[in-house]
Symmetry: C2
Subunit: 170 residues, 2 copies
DNA sequence: GACAATTAGTTGCCAAGGCAGTATTATCTT
DNA sequence: AAGATAATACTGCCTTGGCAACTAATTGTC
């Protein structure tokens, strides 16, 4: 649990004071690490980490109903997801239920304990994000998100080019 | 090598089409993953990955001279760094040299092969970042970076508060 | 209807990162 | 000067994530 919790403290204030401006890539790694560290630290008292959080959040909001959904949504490996769900099921937060029409799928639902816990988890999550965005105006947040979207789109088309270059499907 | 290379392809176009807007956290994870995936893919032909890249870059630019420097800069575990350096030394890209004044430290230098390779690596890196920032004006890039800086600062002060709350140093 | 292709989920294996503990050397305190 | 404290690097252990291989079930094609 909370593997990221310590390195944050260990390595604060790293590349500051050198005067050299950091690249976009490192800034993003930094900012993301800060978010995840904070989230992990807060979730530790629930015995959960940020990965569990996202799973529960998506299940609770109905954004995902199966393991495959969750993997697509979180860019996550299916094998790893199986193990995450094993653990959440052990904890009594999630229930698996084999589908009756399509018997390949296993539908996921929050167990009562999970449903009871979720609001508190969501509160933690929003609090952390809001703290990180303190001082941002609404339009700044929009601009920020649009920049991120544009980066992702750029990366996507770059990837498409690379793939089509090295042979599509014969 | 390139552990991140495949999941990009596996999971593209994940949470799109749902109409729901993604949160800042997920957008950042996404964008960062795109950068790292692209970098890993390009570095595969050198037998390197994005972690190696950052190490060589910082050594080459003089931004770091020891393993501890690199760890602070990259928010990286010292044990893991030792093993990274083992590998880079095996490959003949880096040399270790015990300090003579302070005999605890091991100074790191690029070996000739590493010095020769570095420009090509840097070219790859900047090409990828530029591709991800295609269509961004200079002022947009500045705004983007300032947003990231502000997020990091916010996270930092949040962390300071948490620490001082739970007892400083007795 | 039979066969291929696809999708979902699971399991085992491997590499990487984080942590604790240790040895060595420096520095600070007194 | 002696001892406590800190910093650097390294080693072993554990968890996690990614990948490949596999099974089961569905869909599509001929």
């Amino acid at each position: 649990m909370s593997r990221r919790a310590v390195i944050g403290a260990q390595l604060q204030g790293a590349a500051q004071g050198t005067g050299e401006s950091l690249g976009v890539g490192q800034l993003m790694s930094c900012a993301r690490a800060s978010l995840l560290n904070a989230l992990d630290a807060e979730l530790e008292r629930f015995g959960l980490n940020s990965t569990h959080f996202l799973v529960l959040k998506h299940l609770g909001e109905g954004a995902a109903r199966t393991a495959a959904d969750l993997c697509r949504r979180n860019r996550y490996d299916t094998g790893a997801m199986t193990r995450i769900l094993d653990r959440l099921e052990e904890k009594g937060l999630v229930r698996r239920e084999r589908g009756r029409e399509d018997r390949r799928v296993v539908f996921l639902r929050l167990a009562p304990a999970g449903r009871a816990l979720l609001p508190r988890l969501l509160a933690v999550g929003t609090r952390i994000v809001e703290a990180h965005l303190a001082g941002f105006s609404a339009s700044e947040i929009e601009a920020f998100k649009s920049y991120l979207h544009r980066m992702i789109d750029n990366g996507q088309s770059q990837l498409d080019n690379r793939e089509s270059a090295s042979g599509g499907k014969p």
